[in-house]
Amino acid sequence: MALLEVKDLKTYFSTGDGVVKAVDGVSFSIEKGETLGIVGESGSGKSVTCLTIMGLNAKRNTISSGQALFKGEDLLTAKPSRLRELRGNEIAMIFQDPMTSLNPVHAVGKQLVEAVQLHSDLSKQQARGRALELLKQVGIPRADRRIDDYPHQFSGGMRQRVMIAMSLINNPDLLIADEPTTALDVTTQAQILALIERLQAEYNSAVIMITHDLGVVAEIADDIVVMYAAEVVEGGSVDDIFHSPHHPYTWGLMGSLPRLNADVERLAQISGQPPSLLRPPSGCRFHPRCPYVMDICRTVDPELKPTPGDAAHLQACHLDEATKEQEAARLLGAVSGVSS
């Protein structure tokens, strides 16, 4: 049984302008100890998917359906009290902006101790010991002195380390990292990713890494889910996605990666804007921006189905296999080094 299995997840927000279908039929699964990367543009529904799994969407005006089975238990229908037991304990989350994700009026130690004591009967002293241990593990220098400092006394990278310490403090089975490095500078990004990878191995947690950075998922993910306009357009192992991508949107994402060894005048880009989720395009949602668009794409929404010969590699595109293979090969030739 998969650790987490998401089936046909839908999250709709009703707004003054109509219903925003922020997540529209997303399915994926993740095994224990594995890393899953969810990639896609801003607004493609990556974060909302994970907030829905965590039960952290505002209750007001939100409708969710589908299933999110965590160890066989559906998180969408679980009682709030049960969700509270799981959150921060078996499922933990790291957020995008470390500058605003810590409470400014409590010392970081106190916030870590709170995380421990919410889920165990440890005394304050024991919880503090655990907090100190975690702060050392995530590489906070002089942790024994800094434990009583307040968030504003830490840099962005250090705050994200504190967030990671807080999320791992109860040995979660699943860690959801929502663009954990987006707000950090490049050198810090690499350190934080290495830290997450190391601790993942140490704690044997599964990680869902949400990002719009293909470089990040190439580095640490086992499996990848590509989302576009609230739907999954392609999914598979890192090898599948990076060595034989089968969806024009994935091609676009890869083509727009800057390469140090390729001398190009300008980067390829996906023309146009992501569609409005209030009124998504008919048929395939990518068709208005797709260079390979056919008549059928405008009317029929392609199903997410396995690639012939590789059942684990899912894709939703009407193009025929031969064209896909050909185009993927051409793309990989043009941007050689994608997999490195």
Partner: protein
């Protein structure tokens, strides 16, 4: 910390000098002769001059001001340097010591204002938080309507309505006067119970305006804080809603409220004129008004000195409190 307090105290002395100086000059500019008032209608010019000399109003204004400051100094150079208690002088009108006027009036105003503050916070915090939790709910709409009424209703009108119905028609509470908390005069009601009983209506009247303003402020602050990332972090940790509210939302949402509270209470300690007048409380506001009518500058200045001190002290207290509740503020 100590340096910060010393710097604030030096500031306070400067502020104090400026406020009293302006008060003095204003009285000097009023085209009226306090000596004439103190002497009475039937006085001849000779008698008025003698009274003026006696009161000291025949001297230049800067001499009067220096004398005022000299009396106020807690140090004296007469018969060698020694400590003395600050003296606010005597009323022009009845020669009563201003010290004792302030000492009698201040407890009444303080009872009204501090008790009123408790009342308005007891109304504003729960109502503000609940409206923020359920925006556009029935409760929210009711409280916002209440806010509008509370801000629009004048304390004098409210006071008259309350005392007519609650006090006069229904005989539930007394409608006037102050009952001393500690030492009532002979034959008058006193003690904590009577004190509170007599203050019920004044507290309500005084606090409604503030309650309305604070409901709106607390509601806005809580709604803003609820959307902060660290509140989501707290939920992601598995914190129950009550803990999220008290430990994470309220702690942050109350920061600006504390600042406002210090300013409002400090200001009101100078006298809650309308409420005091309606309920015949002989507080600082009431005393100021009657002293102003008689050109009794020592009394007015004495109350000014007291309320300036109150505001300075309250602001200092708030600043120190702030450093304690908001670690981002460092006093240096």
């Amino acid at each position: 910390m100590i340096r910060y307090i010393i710097r604030r105290l030096i500031w306070a002395v400067g502020l104090f000098l400026a406020v009293t100086l302006i008060g003095f000059v204003l009285f000097y500019l009023i085209p009226a002769d306090p000596a004439k008032f103190a002497c009475g209608r039937a006085c001849t010019q000779v008698m008025v001059d003698r009274v003026a000399h006696y009161l000291g109003t025949d001297r230049p204004v800067y001499i009067q001001y220096l004398r005022f400051l000299g009396r106020l100094m807690p140090l004296s150079l007469h018969h060698g340097l020694h400590l003395k208690s600050p003296d606010l002088g005597q009323s022009f009108v009845n020669r009563q010591s201003v010290n004792s006027i302030v000492a009698n009036a201040a407890p009444q105003t303080a009872s009204l204002v501090l008790g009123g503050m408790v009342v308005w916070l007891m109304i504003a915090v729960p109502v503000g938080v609940l409206s923020a939790l359920r925006p556009r709910s029935v409760l929210d709409r009711l409280s916002m309507t209440g806010v509008l009424i509370g801000i629009s209703a004048h304390p004098v009108w409210l006071g008259l309505i309350f005392s007519y119905f609650v006090g006069y028609r229904w005989h539930i509470t007394p409608i006037a006067n102050y009952a001393n908390f500690f030492h009532p005069l002979y034959g008058q009601p006193g003690g904590p119970l009577q004190w509170a009983y007599h203050l019920i209506l004044p507290w309500l009247t005084f606090s409604i305006l503030f309650a309305a303003v604070y409901v709106r402020m607390i509601r806005a602050n809580v709604m803003e804080t609820m959307n902060e990332d660290y509140v989501r972090t707290a939920r992601a940790k598995g914190a129950p809603e009550s803990r999220v509210m008290f430990q994470h939302i309220l702690r942050n949402a109350m920061l600006p409220v504390v600042t406002m509270l210090g300013m409002d209470v400090g200001l009101a300690l100078g006298g809650a004129v309308f409420t005091e007048t309606v309920y015949s409380l002989q507080g600082l506001g009431y005393r100021t008004i009657s002293a102003l009518n008689n050109y009794d500058s020592p009394t007015v200045l004495g109350i000014l000195v007291f309320s300036t001190t109150a505001i300075i002290v309250m602001n200092l207290v708030v600043d120190l409190l702030y450093a304690w509740i908001d670690p981002r503020i460092r006093l240096s």
